[in-house]
Symmetry: C2
Subunit: 114 residues, 2 copies
DNA sequence: CATATCGATTGCCATCCGTCGATGTATACC
DNA sequence: GGTATACATCGACGGATGGCAATCGATATG
């Protein structure tokens, strides 16, 4: 219960039972929203799908040809996934390898499964 | 396997094992992205949280005071949730009652739980 | 050093998004 | 009819987003 009502309902008849205040803490809601937002694009969602199903880390050069967007655009999407904490990357020589961070989707997944 | 590679990888050394093509069909990815995008805002995520935990339908006038935004803004968020197919509403006299559509989150939830 | 490759970054553009105040619409009540 | 209430819609504003071409930085390799 972290939201504080700013106004009282008008003192007329009840329109319905009082609501249960959101259980999700504001911080948790913000964090989950960050993850959901990052997944809110078909390309990024499919990127995560590929990375999750591929055991081990995946080279960017394997990812680019899968999608109908330019390499900078895909790099941009990968950055958004990184910023959301969903994936991380490693450099090895010329190549960059991406992988899904374990537990990154856990909180949102648990909330959705309620 | 719905994505068709646009280019071949350069014929040099392998950087990694070939990726598994995305299992998520493009349609499914787009649908899940629509839902994820709608959940990609803390207010909307908390709205869904409130609606899910409240048995029955909730009047808008109970929702507005929970958040630090104006009534038109909240109405806008509710519309976005409606457009994403996550919630629906009923009018009864002056009041509008919102509720979560059953199964609306099912596909995304299942995918996240993989 | 010169060149090629991979990936990230930059700059630009059109579009979308969140927000608000003002207004509209429908219902309820005097 | 007149007024109040509940909610939606509109219009406008600033900021974020997705896309690309061009460029940069780092690493290989000749």
């Amino acid at each position: 219960m972290q939201l504080t009502p700013k106004q009282k309902r008008p003192a007329g008849e009840r329109c319905c039972e009082p609501v249960v205040y959101p259980d999700v803490e504001r911080r948790a809601a913000e964090q989950m929203a960050v993850v959901a937002k990052a997944l809110g694009d078909p390309i990024r969602l499919q990127l995560v799908d590929v990375l999750r199903k591929h055991a081990g880390k995946v080279c960017v050069c394997e990812l680019v040809p899968l999608f109908d967007v330019s390499q900078p655009t895909l790099s941009h999407h990968l950055k958004r996934l990184r910023d959301a904490g969903i994936v991380d990357s490693e450099r090895q020589g010329l190549w960059a390898y991406y992988y899904v961070r374990p537990d990154a989707l856990k909180e949102l997944s648990a909330w959705l499964s309620l």
